[in-house]
């Protein structure tokens, strides 16, 4: 049997959404849903695998904004409240569905939320990063970081201060959160531009993940295809994505998540049941929204969805893992037939939130995958990038071009007619921030606080999530407001510093609201060009 080195990579990221100024803020649910459906279930799977002695291994990136939110006491308290409400709704759903075929699914939701509540309170005391750190120490996980606020870096290549700030803060936040430096970095949207590797090396990142097309179109023909990392001229390694294994899960038509028996993502009791019944579980909303309680299966190309059967779905998960491994073996054979020597490295990278949140059975799939992959007959050896780097030398050296992992391969989604207005303001904010560092090279006290907050506001305005949301048409108003708010906050600080009229009360309120990166030093925006 041909063996392959298989590197599974999960990128966990959400934009910084935290609004203590409101008693309830709907967009904070993005984090709560990911906690309930992805992060906590994933940790439970890791614990079960460990208990059963399964030698699982994968790479996970945690963006600094997600890290900040997961360790924030305000959001931790709000998640506890969210969990309480979800559990209460789960109890009511158990009663409502008695005698109904969907009762089995209702039980599943009650179990999910009960487990989440227990784990969050008792196991992690509110900070789930402890769980991931534990598995890092045990050697199952390689945890890496991403850019500070997940900026699409190629769009800022002519503003090098942004690149340096995004990477330096990422490196610092990671050490504080996980107790060791991040060896690699998940470039937001796998977006690379020539020269970025210099900044990566400055901040001691040894590798990143690259889009398949950038590697296949590398300056020199990639002798190993996408099955080995490429070395950039300064030695930083680019690990290419393997499209075939990735698409087995991400293919929207025939990818596993679209199987008819799996749970449908969109059909939700939030849109089906009486509003009076749901209202207590939608605090802060006058309108309907998804609750996470979904009782229908994907079914097929129809609006008439059949009821979801958890047993059928679990059986299909096992089949799909078998199918995935079979196809990896077939692929390995074809790679060898193409003249490849040695064990090819297959890097399969995904958004972590695909598993559990969008693809409800995705976490179970990972559990079954790790168990099957551990069998000697699987043909797979699970690896993480640092292992690959330690085991091999002499990676082919070449150069890559501007690229991202989005369809089209470049910046089409983050720069178009709907969202390009953002960049005039973010560029100006960077320019002014650099100017402020020049004017105030070493200040203390209130001015220092103001400058640090100005830097936070600049970084928050640069998140790639805002243009993406605007482009894709979901919660556009919120994304637009976020960009405008951060730019307006920055501008107010800039003008206040220029006129020496800082409103301390306003600054204090802002510091409490946008409180990420507490150790940030505004001088990270010192002039670089």
């Amino acid at each position: 049997m041909n063996r392959i080195d298989f590197a599974l990579v999960l990128n966990a990221h959400l934009p910084f959404v935290r609004h203590p100024e409101y008693p309830v803020f709907l967009e904070e649910r993005w984090l709560f849903e990911a906690l309930s459906e992805t992060y906590l279930p994933l940790l439970r799977v890791f614990h079960k695998l460990e208990e059963d002695g399964v030698p699982f291994r994968l790479t996970m990136s945690f963006s600094p904004t997600l890290t900040a939110m997961l360790t924030d006491p305000v959001l931790q308290d709000r998640y506890r409240q969210y969990l309480d409400l979800q559990l209460e709704l789960a109890e009511r759903e158990l009663v409502r569905t008695v005698g109904d075929p969907s009762h089995k699914t209702a039980k599943l939701y009650r179990q999910l939320h009960k487990h989440n509540q227990g784990d969050f309170h008792e196991v992690y005391q509110g900070n789930i990063l402890r769980g991931f750190s534990y598995f890092q120490k045990k050697g199952h996980l390689e945890i890496i970081t991403s850019a500070a606020t997940h900026a699409f870096l190629p769009l800022y290549q002519n503003h090098p201060e942004t690149i340096e700030a995004q990477l330096q803060i990422a490196a610092e936040v990671h050490v504080r959160a996980f107790g060791r430096p991040s060896k690699g970095v998940w470039l937001p949207e796998c977006a690379y531009f020539p020269g970025l590797e210099k900044s990566l090396k400055t901040h001691k990142f040894e590798y990143f993940f690259a889009s398949a097309h950038s590697v296949l179109n590398a300056k020199d023909f990639p002798k190993a295809g996408v099955f080995a990392p490429l070395a950039l001229p300064n030695g930083v390694l680019a690990f290419p994505r393997d499209m075939e294994s990735t698409n087995a899960l991400w293919s929207p038509d025939r990818g596993y998540p679209s199987d008819p028996v799996y749970r449908d993502f969109y059909r939700d009791i939030g849109f089906d049941l009486e509003l009076d019944y749901l209202r207590p579980y939608m605090p802060g909303s006058d309108d309907r929204l998804a609750t996470g309680f979904k009782y229908h299966a994907v079914t097929g190309p129809t609006d008439q969805k059949v009821l979801y059967d958890p047993d059928k779905a679990q059986a299909r998960v096992r089949e799909h893992v078998q199918n995935f491994l079979y196809n990896r073996n077939q692929h390995a054979g074809r790679i060898m037939d193409a003249g490849f020597e040695g064990a090819p490295l297959v890097v399969s990278s995904f958004d972590a939130e695909l598993f559990g949140h969008w693809w409800f059975e995705g976490v179970s799939w990972l559990d079954a995958f790790f168990r099957q992959a551990a069998q000697p007959t699987s043909g797979l050896d699970l690896v993480v990038p640092s292992q690959v780097m330690a085991a091999s030398t002499g990676f082919q050296e070449t150069e890559l071009a501007f690229s991202s992992w989005a369809t089209g391969g470049y910046a089409e989604a983050w720069l178009d007619g709907s969202n390009d207005w953002i960049y005039r303001h973010t560029f100006k904010a960077v320019e002014r921030m650099v100017e402020l560092v020049g004017r105030f090279p070493d200040v203390q006290g209130r001015k220092q606080r103001a400058l640090n907050q100005a830097a936070r506001e600049v970084l928050l305005s640069q998140a790639s999530d805002w243009p993406l949301i605007i482009k894709s048409g979901t919660t556009v108003g919120y994304a637009q407001r976020r960009v405008k708010e951060h730019i307006a906050n920055f501008t107010r600080i800039y003008e206040s510093l220029s006129s020496n009229t800082m409103d301390t009360e306003w600054l204090t309120t802002l510091e409490k609201r946008n409180n990420l990166f507490p150790d940030l030093d505004y001088k990270v925006f010192q002039r670089r060009s």
Binding site: V24, R254, N323, A411, S472
Partner: protein, 237 residues
Amino acid sequence: MTVLLELSEKENLTVDEGCSRQELIEDLLEVYEDDRRERETLQNLIIKIEQTKFASLSTRPSASFTQEPVLPAFYDDYTVDLVLRDPSWALVLWEVRKKDLDTWTQDPSFRGLAIRVLEYAAPDTSCLTFFPIPVPQGAGSRYLHLPTPGRWYAIELHAQFERESRALARSALLLTPPELPDDPKDRPGLTPEQVRLLEVSGSALCETARERVEAAPSAFPQRIGTWDDSAFQDVAE
């Protein structure tokens, strides 16, 4: 003019006899703009998956989050920025100081603002070529087709007068990717072995090639796009 005629032929543009250089540039820009709009209609798999993170709240913002700051349209400065969108399209952002612009508009010799696109083989070398594009007064951005792959570009913002052109601002240099095929297998000069390696590397599925298989809109809400997965092998019966 020869280059413009070559580009016109490449874009299947009918060129009228006696067509001026400026008219040709404008026609080409229009074609490129149409092409850009067409590309934007494509379905984007990554976006569709990422947007499910934000799907629970439909499309309206929080009711409690109502005060929207108003940002200035311009910052009353001389700036020009060049931002690369894909190998051949870039966004140019510019602005001028209002007071100066008001003064110039009173001057009968003022012909308007223009951006000058400068092409270089490498940084710190002489400009290979440049072409000006007049920009409407009051505008501050436009998408621009950068004609040659693998070249460095910079933009200068100019105030044009009857007898002179005043440079107001200049962008940093930006490198466009070399000419790359959508499917890496189309790279010239490959051996059959190299083609086989690219095939098993998923060249037909990679990000630049996906455009053509995701172009059709999704018919069903539970689907996140359409896909031709004929390249996938199913478990044998």
